[in-house]
Structures are given as C-alpha cells and as structure tokens.
C-alpha cells in the first residue's frame, strides 16, 4: 500500500467549502492573536525575574523601597570582596508637561551605570554607542531615553526635555544625549535616565539615592555577599535589605496581584472559544461527509485513512488560522509597533517562544477538534453511511 490516505480530498474539501474554512480559520486566528498578546504580557511581566542577572544584587532600605539611602554607602558596598562595580538609581517621579505623560525617570550615575549595564560590561543590557555614552557622561544636564519612549514622544538627540519635580522639587531641563535600546528583555525601553548629580545639586545636596546595584564576580557566592553587605549597616541608622535582582524584580511582579493569573484564565477562555469554533466546523463537516466516507470505505479505503484525512483537515484549518493570528501579532507589534499599547507595555515584543507556543497551540486545537468527528467517521459502518442515499 503506497499512499492509503486520499490527500487530494483534503484540499478539494478546503477549496469547495472555502467560505466555511475561511470563517473558521479567521475565528481561530483571532483567538490565537489574543493568545499571543496575553502570553506576551505575562512574559513581559515576568521578564524582570527570568532575565535578571544572577550575579547582581540590589540594596534598598530595610524599611521600604520608598525610603532613601545616603549615596555614600556605595563606598562600603564596593569594599565587600567579590563586588566588581556599584551603581545607583533614584526614582525621580516628576511631571513632563502634563500628569498624563507617564514614564519612568531615574537619576543615575552614568560612569558606573555604563560599567554595570552598558558597553563596559559583559552583558551590555543597555545598548548605546560609545560616543553617546561619552556625551552622556560628560554633560551633567544630559539624559538618555529608551527607543520606545523616543518613538512615543518623538525625542531626538539634542532635544530638550523639561521636567517639573515633585518628590524632588524644582524645574529641570535635560538635553537628550542618546537613545538606547535593550540587550535584554528585562530592560525597559521607555525609561529616561539622567545625572544624579544634577538632581542632587538642584535639591541642595541631600545626597540620597533609592537603590544600589552591585555587580558581582560570578566566582563569589552571592548569598554570602548579600549577608556581608547587610551586616555592614546592621547597627547603623540606615539598615539595608539586599536581595538578588531576580528577587527584587519578583516583588514588583507580585504587586500585580492576581493579574497574571487572571490573564492566564482569560487565555484559557480564549482557547476554549477557539476550540469550540473549530469543533463546530469539524462536526458540520463530518455531517456532510457521511456518504462520501461510505463511498471511500466501499472502494476499500481503510478506517485509518478516513481518520487521518479528517483529523488533518482540523489541523490544517486551525494551523493556518493560528499561524495567521500569530503572524499578525508579530507583524503589528514587532514590526509596526503599537504606541497605544506601548503606553502600558512599552517593551511589547513577541518572543520566538511565544510565537511557537501560539502556533503549537493552534495545531493542538485542530488536532483535538478534528479527533471527535474523525473517530465518528472512521467508525461509521458503510451501509449506515450510504443509507442516507435513497
């Protein structure tokens, strides 16, 4: 037996009932499109944990992230054996023209930032050209902005960005020295970074920062260094809490509460709906195929061939739909970029894993939706199948 499955019937059916095929594939495509989005949001929410540096520690005040630490503590942290570089971030808040222009603004120390995240580090999470880094380092009123942020507000190198401080009162003005992109999904491309020293001068040398970031030599034990850093300040008035970058990022994820679970639930419902659309079509197809199945069996086609033929139809329809939906998502978000969503999820990038997951899911939906009618048809007795005819 060379080729027991009459594949040409598969394509003949798809062509003949093209309208039903198209509607079904489109229904599945829409569902898979949503699935890609939901999965991407979940991935983005968790990317901070997944892609966090293993050999990087974050030190905050033991009391709260919102309690500042003196900038001078960095000397102590640098002195701990195994610490390669220390930089710091300070949450600025502030207003850019209007309250509604929400994006994160941090005051940082450019030279050490470049050592930890930039072209002087092995990881290169913040991608910025060397001249741009140098321009940023040398201009005390300079700033760098993420690519998504630059797209959203049209920032270009040389532009002036005014900010009004609230936590750090005062009127500030910055010059854009560079537009960075990310080398790791955990870096947000819609953040603005500027010189901490400019901030500190403006508010009258309070000399405080939000967090310290310590880059470690991977040879050293991160757990031990964590304890050593906290021990340094244990009895001081600035008690610290040091944790790995992953744990620090996890605390932000957990602030979202039930949102990831809710998104997962919605994804499940979306899939279920896609499955029902596909199953409905496959059952209707099976109804139309009874007599044809009888003929094929009378001609000597085995039950297995009937089963494969009908299962494949489900898989083909759903996979075409799923691939179209996933591709649409990829094209819209990775290619065109959607700034409306970019406001909420600035670094909205559909990963290869998500894409593969979505297409794979559509194959499974097609398989499952195709199995029920395929089994019915494969099991049907020839005389019953043909009895519908006169």
């Amino acid at each position: 037996m060379k080729q027991p499955v009459p594949w040409r019937l598969l394509f003949a059916h798809l062509r003949r009932s093209w309208f039903r095929t198209t509607l079904t594939a489109a229904g599945v495509a829409l569902a898979i499109f949503l699935l890609v989005l939901l999965q991407t949001v979940i991935t983005e929410l968790q990317s901070g944990v997944k892609y966090a540096g293993r050999s990087r520690l974050i030190t905050t005040s033991a009391v709260s992230l919102f309690v500042n630490l003196p900038e001078k503590l960095h000397q102590g942290i640098e002195g701990v054996p195994g610490v390669v570089a220390v930089t710091h971030w300070t949450w600025f808040g502030g207003v850019y023209i209007d309250d509604k222009n929400m994006f994160a603004r941090f005051a940082v120390d450019p030279p050490t930032m470049r050592r930890v995240y930039g072209d002087l580090s092995a990881k290169k999470e913040i991608v910025l050209s060397t001249p741009e880094w140098e321009a940023f380092e040398s201009d005390r009123r300079g700033c760098i902005v993420g690519a998504a942020l630059a797209r959203q507000f049209g920032f270009k190198v040389g532009d002036r960005i005014p900010l009004k401080g609230n936590i750090w009162p005062g009127d500030y003005e910055f010059t854009v020295c560079g537009v960075y992109s990310r080398g790791s999904p955990q870096i947000d491309e819609s953040t603005m970074f500027f010189h901490w020293k400019y901030l500190d001068e403006t508010v009258g040398r309070r000399s405080v920062v939000s967090i310290f970031v310590a880059e470690l030599d991977p040879e050293f034990d991160a757990g031990r260094i964590t304890n050593e850093i906290d021990a340094l300040f244990e009895s001081s008035e600035n008690r610290t809490r040091t944790q790995t970058e992953a744990a620090f990022n996890q605390s932000f994820v957990s602030m979202w509460g039930n949102v990831p679970a809710l998104l997962g639930m919605i994804g499940g419902a979306v899939l279920f709906a896609a499955f029902m659309i596909a199953l409905n079509t496959m059952l209707l197809n099976a109804r139309d195929r009874r007599s044809e199945t009888g003929v094929l069996k009378a001609l000597g086609y085995p039950d297995r061939a009937i089963f494969l033929l009908n299962v494949s139809e489900g898989i083909v329809v759903c996979t075409i739909g799923g691939a179209a939906g996933a591709f649409a998502g990829w094209f819209i978000f990775n290619h065109i970029g959607v700034d409306a969503l970019g406001r909420f999820f600035p670094s909205f990038i559909i990963t290869d894993e998500t894409f593969a997951f979505a297409v794979g899911t559509s194959v499974i939906v097609g398989l499952v939706a195709g199995i029920v009618p395929a089994v019915i048809l494969a099991r049907i007795r020839v005389i019953d199948a043909l009895s519908r005819f006169g």
Binding site: A12, V295, F389
Partner: protein, 224 residues
Amino acid sequence: MLIQVRGVVKSYVKGSETVLVLDGVDLDVDAGEWVSLMGPSGSGKTTLLNLIGGLDVPDSGSICVNDDEMVGRTNAELAAWRSRNVGYIFQLYNLLPVLDAFQNVEMPLLLTNLSRKERREHVMTALDLVGLSDRIDHYPAQLSGGQNQRVAIARAIVADPAFLLADEPTGDLDRKSAEDVLNLLQDLHTRFKKAIVMVTHDPHCAERADRLVHLEKGVIVADT
C-alpha cells in the same frame, strides 16, 4: 466457483424490534456470470449484495470468494480485499462531488502501487471504455445522470476487479440513459468476462442477465 454463499442469516435491530432480513440464503455465482437479484422492497436483495461485497457481515453462514472465506475477517482486511476484488456501482452513482471525473475514477488506484503515469493510463482506458474521455475535467454537478453513472462504472472497473456489484444501477435514470448503462455492462460482461451481481426491480433490466434470482422475505424463491 467465484462466489459461494452458504446458509447466510442476517438481521437488523430497528428501534425495539429485530428484523430478520436474510434467513438462510445459499447462492453460487460462477466466474463470468451475470446474475440479477430481484424481489420486492425488504426482501433482502441489497443486504445480500452488501454481504457479498464485504460491506457488512452476516450473523451466521459463510461467504467464500475464490475459495477464500470472507466471514470473520477484520474491517481492515475486508477494506483491502474490496479494493482489489470488487467494483461497486450504486443507484445514486456516489461520486465525490469535490473531485472531477478523472480524479473520481482514479480513487481506487490510489490504493495500489501504480505509478502516476500508470494510473493515468488506467483511468484514461476506463473513461474511454465508458465513452467519456472528453469529460475528464468535469465535476459530477456538470454531468448528466447517465454520464455520472458511466463515470461510476469507469471507477468500478478501473482497478480491474474480478466482479462488479451493482445496486439498482438504472434506478435513477431515464429510459435512454438506462439503456446505455445496460449496454455498457453487457459489453463489460461479454468482452472482459466480468462477473456481475445486480440488484434491480425492473424486469426489463433484469432480463439482460444470464440468471434471475428471486428473493422474498429473506429466502430465495426462484433461481432461473
């Protein structure tokens, strides 16, 4: 002896009652013989045809074709056997509407090891034989009833089976087309020595056969 039916009993469950359709039927068909099965509705003639063709299995009794026992075989074995030995002709043609005439006739050949080129030759020969070689790319909906039945006959003979089973092959045709189909069967019978078992209730049609077998209430009442 091509077909040997011995003591075949078959009943169906319809709703709550069991209907006895065949009640101990014996029938022999020789190679190259044309047999017409006649009888009123419900006499069991179509059921007998289906049993001979391996589309259904009897409750008891034996059916031998070329000295091979058919009863007790699995569905898959029966399917493989059908593809090589039986050509079916149905009252309503049962062509696949999504395929054109050529593809319909080619269907049984897809189960063989023939190459694409060989299949094409066989299909063209069969279609030529039924006089439709100029309609190969027509779909069933584009052909008349008589033409459809001729395509169906081409499909039945394309794999060169030992015998043809025809269930009311002219039942849905006008007189002229019916005559064409019967002439075609006659031709296949005389030229290629195909055995034919044909169910019909049209006496005019049945007369073409070598032998007339009458069934009534599941038993053979006359065999001439």
